[in-house]
């Protein structure tokens, strides 16, 4: 076995190139703020532009095929880009990446040119709409409807927790597309009653409003009031929306893995324990807090190994069964365990915000505390993640294999 990250000479050269480009092209004030609530209109506009440039260099979506605007590079290159962007606080993409598996696997060639390429080249951006106010991750009671009208579809309904930037109050163009399932056939059986649509924005009848949530203000409620889209905005068949959405969810639920599972929260924790004191002396020397900190590190380490294992399988087009879902469940749960441990180690300092001069790491832990109260449900709840994992290991009523992804279908 070889767990090493890619550090060949060629790759180190590439790393230097990326690092130097970032140093030369991203001014300090454009780097990600500690609290993404502080991400500004100026930063947004800067990155919209910069992403186009990055796409041209092949660095926005390094592993996507060149013919669709990607970089045609290896997974190792992507890992390096990920590491360096993380290091530099540079923003990677404004489109919700879960759209890509759906488009790669299900879109026609024509649709790929129309929808996929502009997203990959950074010309356009897309958000995912999924959750309804009264329906969770199950879609069993989905009410957002698409009704056929000649060659068009008329869309009605609403969604919540639609994540993305820009903020509506900035008065700049919003996302170019919202994507997600719509009920096309209320009489058809479950999982056979949906179509998956790319909904252009702005469009008459489409409204986007910001939600006021604990974990930030990049989430939105959207309302569709007789929105008309032509039939070529339907990805896959008009009864296959569940299947299309699942290609997205497969990746969202950990199915793509992560080569570079950075856990800044835990890196911070180690630094803090070494350098800071409570009334008993250095925190790292306190036998009890030391155990708490090490347990946090272990949880994070296991998490990273699970993500890396999935990444390795995904990149090598191996048959993923339950591994991505296992990593996903572990990721959600270990992060929650760790936010509690952070409060033990930092005490109330973990609750000091970005404006507070004494806040550790510029307030990063306070952001983590708030976000983990909320983001535990991003991409569906852990409860649902466990439902899926149970199916994948074969103990549930429903047996289930991994949904089609670019990896297991050989597309892209």
């Amino acid at each position: 076995m070889d767990f090493s990250l890619p550090y060949t000479a060629e790759q180190e050269k590439f790393r230097t190139e990326v690092r130097e480009w970032l140093e030369g092209n991203i001014p300090a004030e454009m780097r990600n703020p500690v609290d993404m609530r502080d991400f500004s209109k100026e930063q947004y506009l800067f990155w919209r532009e910069k992403h186009r440039e990055l796409a041209q260099k092949g660095w926005l979506y390094p592993t996507f095929p060149k013919e669709y605007g990607g970089g045609g590079l290896t997974g190792d290159h992507e890992t390096i880009i990920e590491e360096e962007f993380h290091r530099a606080g540079a923003l990677r993409g404004l489109t919700n990446g879960v759209v890509y598996p759906a488009l790669f696997v299900w879109a026609t060639e024509e649709q790929k040119q129309k929808f996929l390429v502009p997203l990959v080249t950074g010309e356009k951006i897309a958000w995912q709409k999924f959750t309804e106010p009264h329906s969770g991750a199950d879609l069993a009671d989905y009410q957002s409807k698409a009704v056929q009208d000649g060659d068009d579809w008329i869309l009605n309904g609403s969604s919540v927790y639609v994540s993305g930037r820009p903020r509506p109050e900035w008065n700049v163009p919003g996302p170019d597309y919202l994507f997600g399932p719509m009920l096309t056939d209320p009489d058809a059986p479950r999982h056979r009653n949906l179509g998956f649509f790319m909904i252009p924005n702005p469009t008459e009848g489409l409204d986007i409003q910001e939600q006021e949530l604990l974990n930030g203000h990049d989430q939105h409620a959207i309302f569709l009031d007789n929105v008309r889209v032509s039939n070529d905005h339907l990805i896959g068949g008009d009864h296959q929306g569940w299947q299309v959405a699942n290609s997205s969810l497969e990746v969202e639920h950990g199915g793509g893995g992560k080569a570079f599972p950075a856990d800044e929260v835990i890196e911070n924790l180690i630094d803090y324990s070494k350098e800071n004191k409570n009334d008993e002396g250095f925190i790292g020397d306190d036998p009890v807090l030391q155990q708490v900190a090490m347990t946090a590190i272990l949880d994070s380490h296991v998490d990273g190994l699970m993500a890396r294992r999935t990444y390795w399988m995904y990149q090598n087009k191996m048959g993923i069964q339950y591994e991505g879902n296992m990593a996903n469940v572990h990721n959600r749960e270990s992060q929650l365990r760790n936010v509690a441990r952070i409060r033990d180690v930092y005490g109330p300092n973990s609750l000091l915000g970005t404006q507070e001069p004494r806040a550790p790491h510029g307030g990063a832990q306070e952001v983590e505390q708030r976000e983990k109260a909320g983001q535990r449900h991003a991409g569906g709840s852990t409860n649902i993640a466990k439902v899926i994992l149970s199916r994948r290991i074969g103990i549930s009523r429903t047996q289930e294999r991994a949904a089609p992804t670019p990896s297991n279908t050989g597309k892209a």
Binding site: G136, A140, D279, L352, E356, R358, G374
Partner: protein, 377 residues
């Protein structure tokens, strides 16, 4: 054995419930939390009028002379309604430091105002190297003639921005417990208070003392000898704070229990899913554990048992972990809606985090338990 509330206690609980249902609906909680001070002088006034500010202050000093269980009954309801006020800081912690260590003159002079809610006191204890042990006190008080000069920084001082007087805990000798408490007027020269920002339930302040000069007579109790008073008063404060936390945990439980019967998924209420039930059972367990350990500790305290401090530390250790856990479990049931700032659950979540550490976290109180039970040397 009789685990029921007395008639008077039941009446007070009912009064408190009616009061908060009217005066402090969840929208009002958010409004107050989001205000600059996080403090509603209107609610404070009404609470004072109801006599709750004077409950555990003896009658001869203008209070009502209730026992701590009585007050605990009321603070449980306060916790259930996410009421944020300086009641424990002023009317229990500060008041009892004065009662424990103060001169008759000091008691006469300070306690009636505190009991009526007209004077707000708070205790400035914790410092940059955070902790609740005697040795964590490093702020210096140096003698200068008949005065003491205070220099240093206190952090996480609750409600200092609305307080009239601050009890400043300072080091006056190098012995571990060589600690004194001085009454410092908030307006005194050299005193700066600044609200700390972040995800904090009760409002807390940084208090800077820059050559603040106070007369030696402003010391509560003996110079170098205040640690005993502080610990005794802290025990009493924790004893009622425990029911506040239990009340909050109870509300977090009830919210998810009720939501689970209303929210439909896969065609059925989500409460019928075992995984959801297990989250709700966690919330219930933590609420019940917090409640019963809290009341048992109050019984130990009010009946003068010598294991009262142990019981109070036990209950705080339980609540410090239980209240946050109950909120987390409730979030697990609520998913997205739970973090909507209008929904109301986050009022409890943020308080659970703040009170987790206040007056000592679970780790601190477990270590204290071990000492009190002679498990450690």
């Amino acid at each position: 054995m009789d685990l029921s509330f007395t008639e008077t206690q039941t009446m007070m609980r009912d009064t408190a419930t009616r009061f908060f249902e009217t005066e402090l609906p969840k929208a009002r909680v958010r409004e107050i939390d989001d205000s600059d001070t996080g403090f509603s002088s209107e609610i404070w006034q009404k609470i004072s009028d109801l006599g709750w500010t004077g409950m555990v202050i003896p009658e001869q000093y203008g209070g009502a002379g209730n026992n701590f269980t009585d007050l605990g009954c009321v603070t449980e309801i306060m916790g259930y309604h996410a009421c944020s006020i300086p009641l424990w800081d002023s009317c229990v912690l500060s008041a009892h430091i004065i009662l424990e260590g103060g001169s008759e003159e000091q008691k006469q002079s300070y306690l009636p105002g505190i009991a009526r809610g007209q004077q707000i006191f708070t205790l400035a204890f914790t410092e940059p190297e955070y902790g609740w042990s005697a040795k964590s006190v490093k702020l210096e008080a140096t003698k200068s003639g008949d005065n003491y000069v205070l220099n240093g920084t206190k952090l996480f001082v609750p409600w200092a921005h609305v307080a009239d007087q601050i009890l400043v805990v300072a080091r006056t000798s190098q012995a571990e417990e060589g600690i004194s408490v001085f009454v410092v007027d908030k307006g005194a020269k050299g005193v700066t208070t600044r609200l700390q920002s972040g995800w904090l339930g009760d409002k807390v302040c940084e208090v800077t003392l820059d050559n603040v000069e106070v007369p030696a007579s402003s010391a509560i109790g003996a110079i170098d000898g205040a640690w005993g008073s502080i610990e005794a008063a802290r025990d009493k404060t924790v004893s009622v704070l425990n029911t506040y936390m239990a009340g909050g945990a109870q509300k977090a439980y009830e919210m998810c229990r009720d939501y689970s019967t209303e929210r439909i998924a896969f065609g059925v209420p989500i409460g019928t899913f075992q995984r959801v039930q297990d989250h709700i059972i966690v919330a219930l367990t933590e609420a019940e554990a917090s409640k019963w350990t809290a009341y048992e500790a109050l019984w130990r305290l009010d009946s003068g048992r010598d294991d009262a401090s142990t019981g109070i530390s036990m209950a705080k250790a339980v609540a410090s972990e239980g209240f946050p856990k109950a909120c987390d479990a409730s979030h697990n049931v609520h998913a997205g809606i739970g973090v909507d700032l209008d929904f109301g659950l986050t009022h409890y979540t943020v308080r659970s985090r703040t009170f987790q550490h206040y007056l000592g976290d679970a780790i601190y109180h477990r270590a204290r338990m071990a000492k009190l039970m002679s498990v450690s040397n």
